[in-house]
Amino acid sequence: MSEAKGLKSWLTTTDHKRIGLLYFWTAFVFFLIGGVEALMIRAQLARPDSQLVGAETYNQLFTMHGTTMVFLALMPLGAAFFNFIVPLQIGARDVVFPRLNAFSYWVFLLGGLFMNASWFLPGHPAPDGGWFGYATLTERQFSPGPNIDFWLLGLQILGIASLAAGFNFIVTILNLRAPGMKMMRLPVFSWMTLVTSFLIITAFPVITVALVFLMFDRVFGTHFYLPAAGGDPVLWQHLFWVFGHPEVYILILPAMGVVSEVLPTFSRKPLFGYTVVVYSGVLIGFMGWGVWSHHMFSVGLGPIADSVFALTTMLIAIPTGVKIFNWLATLWGGQIRLTTAMCFALGFIALFTIGGLSGITHASPPADLQQTDTYYVVAHFHYVLFGGTIMGLFAGMYYWWPKMTGRLLSEPLGILHFWLTFIGMNLTFFPMHLIGLLGMPRRIYTYSTDLGLDRMNLWSSIGAFTIGLGMVVFVYNMWRTRRHGAVAGPNPWGGATLEWATSSPPPVHNFDVIPTVTSRMPLWDAQPPAKAPAEPVHVPPGSWWPLVAAAGLPVMALAPLTHTVWIVFVGAAILLYGIYRWAYEPFEV
């Protein structure tokens, strides 16, 4: 870890490891915020006709819970690991564009703060159009306040952060691999990072355009989604879901990558069918573009469109299922050690399977007409995003914590965290399958006791607070380990990949000597240890310019929010000045 200390060294850092930690802590705080929003939702729904939280606040809570979890928690937690781990896994000293990396982080932080600032204005006009912001509800005439403006501007800012990171990781993974690290020797986590990055750079432009159209409708009076002038609200749905479906693969592939690393390590066996696991990830990335209208089966697109999307959706289940079988085969015949990381990875398989199966039921449009927009689909996506992504990310946290901090998290506390999470998660979300099939729609701030769903909703709410308890245990574990955690050596788990070939945490230059790789599992195939170099390794300095440039973006966003045009030029000037100084400052990696 860099020896520079102090606020300035963090504000100007261009070190992927520090940026990874910044992403981690920021994303984790947003995760807790999103969790509190969820607890408030479940507290309100614990009883029918509850008055705990009013309708408007509730609508803001579910909007912000979804938006926060997707864009401010799950994606950046993935980015935390892309940042810290991928350069180590490929045997590089940093990413290709360290300052662009820092820029991505600062834009993410500022975008998240921008959107959440809405909570603190008078009347707390937080976004309230749902995370999916369907027109025409989000148009000015139906949402006159600034709530939707905060949402669409915040998302556009966050989109830039994701795009920048996408470009950075594609080039890093393709171009900075250590000698001998052929593509088919790349760790699966790095492969999934590559596929995810391609999905990011192709999907985010679509949502950007969709949001620009909405912004123009709201600010300049265009009619992109307004039927009075011939516009079509369904265009929003198409554009959103053309982005939205690849987005869910952006959310799940990194976690699948983590699981593909953790399972072999704690089974003492290589990943079964590495090639197929990699190809199925790539295939899922491509096929994910062909399924978007399965989110629109109740729109009435017609039987032909419905049939086509039903079939493409079912097809994508095949590479997904293949991955699960490959993971099971990795376990088979192994020597399984049930560390916390392994428990979370196994939990991923168990729970993601359930989410995948409910997804199959959604893939059939007539069946989906009873499921969509009910708690059944809430169950589905929480099984894949919580039972899948979040469990996978926790596996990553327990697995890579020693590498990132030099200390091990407590295993007993970790196991407690795991069980509270696993039990809590199932208690929260399994009943939702039934609650949905028994007729409770989504996104309602209250429900009638006549539905007969009081008890199931109460169980679900109890489950949510159980998850919360698990998070408290985890936070305590993180805090405690700073002083009392066991010191980790370079490879506490006996992992096979290159991040374990250097100290924990790594020195600022990652490796004394860039290793030469001759297999997929360099540390298991007993490569000869590298000799220390004669000359010292150069480490780049920090830079202020990524932060300065990043600051231009929220300033620009203030213009539509305050209806003052000149502010956009001030923000653009800051951005361009920052970029100019960045481009021409001396910076050697």
Partner: protein
Amino acid sequence: MSHAATTHHTSMGLDSRKMAFWAFIGSECLLFGTLISTYLIYQGRSVSGPTPGEILNIPVTSISTFDLLMSSLWMVLALAAVQRGDMKWAKVWLLGVAIGGAIFLGFQVYEFTSFVHEGLTLKTNLFGATFFVLTGTHGAHVTVGVLWMLTLWYRAMRGKLGPQHAVTVEIAGLYWHFVDVVWIAIFTLVYLLHK
């Protein structure tokens, strides 16, 4: 510029900055693709107001299109000059590209203002909305390109641009050519093939 991106060995043998820029161009294809698709989807669905046939001025726009194409030629010449170290001509061609781009923007401004006077604004109808957002986004890209070229020209004037920076000029050229190709697509689909 970042060192790792230049002289260090790269796994694929391609300069990292060039690779990143190609990825960026791929992303921009999706951006313009979405804008163009929306334009095409909404073609003919305006409820009132001027239609493309009534208001587009193809002869004038052909001139600005030609100007943009010529500027791409000058970009090629600028890069060749930088690569062979002929900074005198590099400055000429780089400034030429910037001016060519500025002329194109001038034509756009003229076109936009005359459309507004003829009753087509963003708000008028779907044609107005999709046309202005699509061509406006393209124009914003041209503007960024002009600023980029002026920056390179300025650095060259200060003696700070030379053949060792050829890759950065090549990347600027990639951007410029891409913006030009997008314009070809827009000119064809919006102007030449209007309903």
